[in-house]
Amino acid sequence: MLSDKPNDTNVSQEVMDTKDIEVDLLLQAVFMKYGHDFRNYSKAHLKRRINQRLQLNGYNTISELQNKVLWDKTFFRTFLQDLSINVTEMFRDPEFYLTFREKVVSDLKTYARLKIWQAGCSTGEEVYSLAILLKEEDLLSRTQIYATDFNKNVLETAKQGIYPKKEMELYAKNYIEAGGKGKLSDYYTSKYGSVLFDKSLSKNIVFADHNLVTDGVFAEVNLIFCRNVLIYFDKFLQNKVLKLFNESLTKRGILCLGTKESLRFTDFEQSFSMLDKKMRIYKKLQIPKK
């Protein structure tokens, strides 16, 4: 447990909490030493993750943790994992995938070659979901998917396509609600409590190390899929990443965000039209609105 010193509660709102100072210093240290930039991430989420690490290792203060992070590179890899975002399931928000089939697929079929970027793919559950959908719509063979994340460990999991079997009940339910045309089990083989997704799904997927915060445009793509990543960023960083997306998308390219994310009140509200309001599917305009 983080030491909640009694006098902390008497600190006025104007004076910065000591722990908040420590969090900022830690993030600065991580950036200077390792180049990973979490300084514009949502602080509440980071603080919760940092707290969990303090409890696990029995540290009393974030400053102790910072010492370890700075001097122990192996420990830093673990800590980086702590700060990484977990995508939770396959076909999360089934209604989104259903809408995608109805409103986006016909558009994608007009392209002879298709490039898709799944940004912040984490352990890959949503990449395989998308690949299955594209396969069922006869689009996968002409598609190149770039699945990127800054965390090499999660990329390795994504590449392998091996997931716990106990999750499949929920995923199969999601798959059906998402408009799946067969059975989810058509796409994997089970062994010892795990399932392995069919290699034909990942044949056209390139898994690559890319950091949305510090890296730039690496390809021109027709569709960007980035769901429930922006919620972890502050306004400044959201705008920075949206600028990167805007530059990476072809004319009339499509942007899919999480259902609680939005372009409203960002710098790019005028650069996109709404393809589906509820499911937050956007289309890049040739000429931004005034």
Binding site: D4, D8, T9, N10, V11, Q13, D17, K19, D20, S42, K43, A44, H45, K47, R48, I85, N86, V87, T88, R92, D93, N228, I231, Y232, K235, G258, K260, E261, S262, F265
Partner: protein
């Protein structure tokens, strides 16, 4: 006081309705609620609550600033967090206490942001989500109120808090509304 956070699960729809209807009309603190409820039910519940209580009731949006005279609900399937600039943020982190949204996540982050200017309320429920978070609110100097397990629809949730630490008040819904009105002045 700057805000009220409320956590509840089983029996919570009824308990929240009762609590809000018993609050005086001039109670203006923001009320931020985690209710374990399905995504198909939340919208109709929110509009029903708005009509019954005449209060502004809505789902919390990410980055939205927290305002007075408003009741906010955590969106189903996301954790709701409070940032130190008194805005909301969301996360899709794994479930905590088998729950997403988790009451602990809201309570803990609210305690960090509002410190001793916060009222934490834990109502009926059939798991122990919220107990640890409520204790954090107390540690940061906030006021903690737990529904009387004897009169609660499901007593596991309030009882878990009482077993963990000594909350400031253990009250039934009607007295709770009076206490909140008094504290909110």
């Amino acid at each position: 006081m700057k805000a009220v956070v409320v956590g509840t699960s089983y029996g919570g729809m009824e308990a929240i309705r009762n609590l809000l209807m018993n609050l005086p009309g001039d109670f203006d603190l923001p009320i931020i609620i985690v209710l374990h409820i399905g995504s198909n039910t939340i919208n109709s519940y929110i509009s029903q609550l708005h009509h019954k209580t005449n209060r502004k009731v809505k789902e919390a949006r990410e980055k939205e600033p927290i305002r007075r005279n408003t009741v906010y609900f955590a969106p189903p399937n996301y954790h709701l967090q409070i940032e130190s600039d008194f805005t909301f943020s969301l996360s899709t982190d794994p479930k905590i206490n088998y729950s997403r949204p988790s009451i602990d996540v809201l309570f803990e982050t609210a305690a960090w942001a509002f410190k001793d200017k916060l009222i934490g309320v834990l109502l009926t429920g059939s798991n122990n989500d919220g107990a640890a978070g409520l204790q954090t609110i107390k540690k940061f100097g906030g006021i903690t109120i737990v529904e009387n397990p004897e009169t609660a629809f499901a007593k596991t949730m309030p009882s878990s808090a009482i077993e963990l630490f000594e909350p400031d008040f253990v009250l039934d819904i009607k007295n709770m509304a009076e206490k909140m009105a008094e504290l909110g002045k």
